[in-house]
């Protein structure tokens, strides 16, 4: 599979929109376009193979299911994962002749994507550092009370940071990728130790993604129970994810009702009722 200039440029544009801090804003950029599952769909459409794109996206999504950036520290950069890692993984899959739906295919995609994503952290710090220049212009504008300029500083000039740190690296990597994959393929035979390790790492890495998430939820050993309950639903009973969510929702409702009984008892007075959006 060869990535054309036009395809590389389109992917580069999505990389600019999607990262944290991205030009699409966080809701549309980082949390939508930046998620590997969505990146897989976008890359699949651009490269003309939607099904492979989505499958590669799914495989990588598990690793990055809980990409929280507390206080602006990142362990991986989504623009690199989704718009450099996924296209390269797609190229690699077609070069190795592996199907994306196979376990090996998923493992290969995960290893490639995670490697690129981790290296991509550099892009995150690069963008943030270049933005300091624009912010300097911003402070000058505040001093001079030229407030309209703030819009340019906040929403216009950072495009230049992204040209340097998102667009150009993505286009170059997409164009060079096919060659790099060929080199790796000749240098490291499939049944050699290096490739075995690479594939095994690909199968192990999603554990880290899940564990990052558990770190948020699990405060004591008891909090592991819902996790293993869900695990057993899928692994032992073979329930699919949508149905598992429905079952989980039922338990959440029961839990909420019980908690609220205690709250109401404690307060038994005019607690203001507000509407809360729930999904």
């Amino acid at each position: 599979m060869e990535i054309s200039w036009l395809q590389a440029i389109l992917i580069g544009l999505f990389a600019c929109l999607s990262s944290m801090p991205g030009m699409g804003g966080t809701s549309i950029g980082n949390y939508t376009l930046g998620r590997p599952l969505i990146g897989g769909l976008v890359c699949g459409i651009i490269l003309g193979d939607i099904s492979t794109g989505v499958l590669v996206g799914c495989a990588m999504q598990v690793v990055y299911i809980a990409l929280v950036t507390p206080g602006g520290t990142v362990s991986a950069d989504v623009r690199a994962v989704s718009y450099i890692g996924i296209p390269l993984a797609m190229v690699a899959l077609s070069s190795y002749g592996l199907g994306a739906e196979s376990t090996e295919g998923a493992a290969l995609a995960t290893s490639f994507g995670t490697m690129v994503g981790t290296l991509g952290t550099v892009l995150f710090y690069g963008t943030a550092t270049i933005n300091l220049l624009w912010q300097h212009i911003g402070w000058k504008a505040v001093e001079k009370r030229d407030y309209k300029k703030l819009y340019l500083v906040d929403m216009g000039l950072p495009w230049i940071s992204h040209l340097a740190c998102s667009f150009i690296p993505t286009v170059i990597m997409c164009k060079l990728g096919a060659n790099v994959v060929e080199i790796i393929k000749t240098a490291l035979p499939m049944d050699g130790l290096a490739m075995k390790t690479l594939f095994t790492v690909g199968a192990l890495l999603p554990c880290v993604g899940i564990a990052i998430l558990l770190k948020q939820i699990v405060k004591s050993a008891v909090d592991f129970v819902p996790f293993f309950f869900g695990f057993a639903l899928a692994a032992s009973l073979g329930i699919n994810l949508v149905s598992a969510t429905v079952v989980a929702g039922m338990f959440a409702v029961i839990n909420y009702r019980i908690k609220m009984l205690a709250v109401k008892k404690a307060e038994s007075g005019g607690f203001e009722e507000e509407e809360e959006e729930e999904i």
């Binding site: 549309i28 500083v153 075995k196 554990c207 948020q216």
Partner: protein, 277 residues
Amino acid sequence: MEKKLSKKALSKSFHNWYYGHLTCFSQEHMQTFGYLCSMLPLVEELYDNEEDKAKAMNTYTAFFNTEPQLGTVIVGITAGLEEARANGAEDVDEETINGLRAGLMGPIAGIGDSLVVGTVIPILLGIAMGMSTGGSPLGAIFYIIVWNLFAYFGMRFMYFKGYQLGGKAVDFLVGPQGEALRESISMLGGIVIGAVSATWVSVKTSLQLKNDDGEAYLVLQDKLDSVFPGLLTSIFIVACWYLMAKKQLSPIKVMLLLVVVAFLGALTGFFDPGLAY
């Protein structure tokens, strides 16, 4: 005459925040410029005189960073406060506004990170991945639509609640009812994540013990699965959790450790992807 912010100015302020809160991010000022852009339409409407505008804008040059989705409530609250200040409220000055902002951004970031990024997004992604099994774009499209509607209208709701209720809007989030709701959603998240792990994560060993005739009398993977299906996968997940949560290792270090484990495993034959040309 009592000054009142127009719907138009509030809406512009909200959209500036919705889109621009992190577009010009730097490690030093984080969301500060997004906040300035969000307050600008309000300040321009409330004050005619340049001196007052400068004084108001100067308030928001203080450092700001929180979880942006839930943090919208703070922007809404300051919109209400700024309106009160423009009407000459005695007890609202730069210090109270910034004290409130600084006091809220920490707790809201904590709740937002675990609720929005740590629970709602993974649940939606979990469902979406379930729908995308086999390479169908349906799940991805589902996520795009549901998440964006939720984020846009949720943030809009938070902004206007903050503006109308002021500090009370936060009471709900940190109060007992909010806590009960958060705990329930987090339980829902835990179950879904368990199902996601069982469906999408697969750690398998190829270790076999063979007798003299070359027949395998112990296939470790089958033995483990007969105890609890996916046991090895869960062991690895819990081990990673332990290293990060209890031993304070960074995710990168844990990943590097897994590379070592994978290498040793491949070397000894514990792991074997079974590939050949």
